[in-house]
Symmetry: C2
């Protein structure tokens, strides 16, 4: 391993990768030094050269200061003069006179983070330096012990952690619905950590509680609820937001369930499309409703719920004496990116008096785009909506909102009025103590990053970012729809940024035995994906669906991605898959 | 307001406060400049002088560079040369050549944070600059608009947010069970935000998944489970951890509940002490069990569950044909800090075949102390335990663990096997994909800050920190137990750091009419608390309990607190309450 002992930047695991030129740590350092003015170049360079040092038997591999070829002198590549090797966490604040040591230590960490950030956006670096779990366990000492480590060791641990982390900001990281790293969002998250407080009362989070109020109101206005009225909360992810919605729907219909439980109510049934997210069933299991009471409605070939099937199943359930209480329509399904027909669904919900929830965890953000928001037409008729700004709006994880049309319902559904937290004789307006409407007691501050990004971009900035991602996905669709060796999983332009396709390597493409062909094709995507990870060049997801064998699901929510990155992805799939 | 337009450091709302000398922003600036070498003094000073500027009608209040009296020259108090007023978020990465602008912007944010941190630990600053909600809404423009703001505006928003934030790191902030700010924990949280990934699969969070594995195992070893075997997860807070435990207990006894819901099982009942946390009832409401099926067991005068009452109520429930499925013992109650007798409880649970959960959200961390861990004797017999390192171990929010003795149960209880996330044909050991055992889909990375702090302190460092907090609470107890004007809510040395007491101002102390006395006493704590917040000098919680009127509940988890801070609290209560 040529880059042993260095922050890994090159092709440690695989040599040349098509379309990009892997660089050595030293070359990257030289480029960085030239790129930046002032001390930043040498700082970056220094960081790269004192990256995690793997212990070799003879200890000879430790990088020396003279190994650096910075153009900026004096070069501070050797950090031995900082003295962290003799300092411990007990030397930091609140230790007496800990101020300077603390600031220097935190600055050191920030320097590591800044270098990581700049590196993450650089296409010549790897998305991931992949190792199998057992291997990764052995590459570093991750154990916890009785004795403290020095601050120097702590900095080494930080570098090691980042060395093996996924670069989720990387322009070629497409693996999940949440990708990218927004710089204002990141700054806001750093501030949130520093403020280190809890959303449950105004008393301990005055600004954040107000910002949540302002932001939820704005989101409800965008949904189209009159004057932005209603309620809502930021919860730990879309699955929990969906669970909240189901809980509210049940309570709205049978408020006695709170005290008396499910044994006091008739058999409840919920409805959602067969393409919906697994959290609907998971929520039903947790809430004591049971997964069998979630009835899966047929979806069309594009993955959209078929309203006539919904109505048929509701009628059927009623005939059996069950009580339909909840329909979860999906705005942006996980795999196909399909938008259920909300207007037709809302008509049915109204007719049968069923709570209409819209799971817009993935697609809800399209409401920010004047060009694409029609896909959610009818959402204003919903009783509740899940909307995850941490997905399509690229807010750092986690940031998921549940919006509710009826005011006061969350409070009465969830409140327990613990007098040791929600004292009723405080000096301020108690409606700002939002904690009792939550399922949680303590609640993490997820609002500030969204609020600050919104200030920085404006609504039009989010719109531009979203429109661009959709444009990229259309570009990808147009590029591959008639390209040799590709087959689309469904016909037609994608509604969201999901592009689902098979790549058929030459060896599979012309097979006549259909069973054999499907068997071979099923293994293509996993193999290419594993190779992508080993080379570290890009990451994209795949899965089977129903009777369809493994296919790629490309999703684009990373604001760093460009047309060239889409081209790269296709080239990479072909390069890594041509022999299969 | 003399300090109008300045980062507020002084006594804007109340003049002199007993025991501390409020300083003006300028004086603090001068002190800071002398304290630090290099550019840090002038940096700090600069930050203090360009704090949020309130817009006055004539615009005359804007602070000028010349208003600073730094000893370090040249002084960079005027930041106009940085050009952020012409830059937008779109100029930052991933913008072409956005590297330098990004690093400069993030560094600027970090400078603001570093100044806030140093200020937070300074006893001469306020814990809170309190404003009523409507007033706070008007003190700044918090609205979201269509158009973007400049990066300069974003920095101003950051300063404004911190100006009105609670300084949870402040040595005199005692308001919640989670207080203080650990510098290594903070560094780790900044790194976590930068890595911006999701715990659901090894694929996207390799290091963090391994660190969770290592840390949970260590915690299980400390509980006393053989070889650290078992399972667990980090969840969004103690309430959710407790809900997980209840869910597992129900599934263990009646696995069919997952598919068929509560209508398939007999009437389940849970048991917990009348002093337990409200999340037990909240969880029962959510899970469809109902709050009435949570039977509250009597506690003794110290707040500990009475085992004989537990057994009596279990027998009673069985006689009624109900099925006892869950006992939640509390290790460290919220108000009294009481530890339920775990050994006696475990005997009863064993006898009646009921799942034993220990809610150690608050007191679980005492397991880290050789001196205090006996209070949890018997925890090793529990089936599950909630343990929140974000409380007594001062890990930044949020960090809550649920530990489970039986392996594999979480997976079978919660899994939905979504093939688009947990593909079964990946190249690595799939047991590292932990997402399907969670209630959530995406899951925030809460592990790194705990792991890094553990490395930095060692187990003995956490032990020392915890022992010190308990020593402080004993000091407080000894100080006030015989002091004139004080009455303890319960007798005897506190078991945890909770010290519950009434302060009786002279005007109340000698009242003979007992009803009138209680009526007046009930208002004392809220009034003193409101005054504390207006002066911003300290914060401590209060509440009524049962038939007891409002009393103070002092808790100490803040590693920055000292004996002098305890003295200060008592002086402050007397200063603010003497006229009542």
């Amino acid at each position: 391993m040529a880059s042993h002992g260095f922050w890994s930047l090159g092709a440690e695991n695989g040599g040349e990768s098509g379309g990009q030129s892997p660089v050595t740590a030293r070359a990257w350092c030289q480029a960085a030094a030239q790129k930046f003015t002032g001390g930043i170049g040498s700082k970056l360079c220094a960081l790269l050269n004192v990256g995690e040092v793997e212990k070799s038997a003879d200890g000879a591999d430790k990088p020396e200061a003279e190994s650096c070829n910075c153009t900026t002198k004096p070069c501070n590549c050797s950090k031995s003069n900082l003295g962290f090797s003799e300092l411990y966490s007990t030397d930091l604040l609140p230790a007496l006179n800990g101020d300077l040591k603390t600031m220097t230590f935190l600055q050191e960490v920030v320097d590591i983070l800044l270098a990581y950030i700049v590196e993450s956006f650089d296409r010549s670096t790897k998305v991931i330096d992949f190792h199998y779990p057992n291997e990764l366990l052995q590459r570093n000492n991750w154990e916890l012990s009785d004795e403290p480590e020095t601050l120097d060791d702590i900095l080494i641990s930080c570098r090691a952690t980042l060395k093996y982390a996924i670069k989720t900001a990387h322009p070629r990281y497409f693996n999940q619905l949440s990708t990218g790293l927004d710089m204002v969002g990141l700054a806001a998250d750093w501030l949130t950590s520093t403020a280190n407080t809890n959303m449950f009362t105004y008393e301990v989070a005055p600004v954040f509680v107000l910002l949540e109020y302002v932001t939820l109101k704005k989101m409800r206005e965008i949904i189209g609820w009159e004057d932005g009225r209603g309620d809502g909360i930021f919860s730990p992810g879309g699955a929990i937001s969906n669970m909240y919605a189901m809980l509210l729907a049940r309570y709205k219909m049978f408020p006695e369930v709170k005290e008396k439980g499910m044994s006091s109510v008739p058999k409840l049934v919920a409805f959602t499309s067969e393409h919906s997210h697994f959290s609907i069933k998971k929520g039903a299991a947790a809430l004591g409703i049971g997964t069998e009471s979630v009835i899966c409605i047929k979806a069309d070939e594009r993955g959209k719920l078929i309203p006539s099937d919904l109505e048929r199943r509701i009628v059927e359930a009623k005939q059996k004496g069950y009580v339909p209480f909840f329909v979860s329509a999906t705005a942006g399904t996980t795999v196909y990116g399909a938008f259920d027909p909300l207007i037709a669904i809302s008509d049915i919900c109204k007719k049968y008096n069923v709570w209409m929830h819209v799971d817009g965890a993935w697609g809800g953000s399209l409401l920010m785009s004047r060009k694409h928001r029609w896909k959610l037409n009818g959402v204003e008729r919903a009783n509740s909506m899940t909307w995850n700004p941490h997905k399509m709006m690229a807010v750092p994880l986690q940031c998921s909102a549940l919006l509710v049309r009826e005011e006061g319902l969350m409070q009465s559904c969830n409140q327990m009025q613990a007098c040791y937290l929600f004292q009723q004789d405080k000096q301020y307006d108690l409606s700002y103590d939002t904690g009792d409407k939550a399922l949680q007691c303590g609640r993490h501050v997820d609002i500030f990053k969204l609020w600050l990004m919104w200030r920085a971009k404006g609504t039009i900035g989010f719109e531009a970012q979203i429109d661009k991602c959709l444009e990229l996905s259309e570009y990808l669709y147009n590029k591959i729809k008639d390209r040799e060796g590709y087959e689309m999983v469904f016909d037609g332009k994608p509604q969201h940024t999901n592009v689902c396709f098979w790549y058929l390597p030459p060896g599979v493409r012309y097979l006549e035995d259909k069973v054999e062909k499907m068997k071979r094709l099923h293994k293509v995507a996993p193999t290419i994906k594993a190779r992508m990870m080993e080379y570290g060049t890009t990451m994209v997801s795949y899965q089977p669906q129903g009777d369809k064998v493994n296919f790629f699901r490309m999703v684009i929510s990373n604001p760093a991605a460009t047309f060239e990155d889409i081209d790269f992805l296709i080239e990479e799939i072909e390069r890594l898959g041509q022999d299969l």
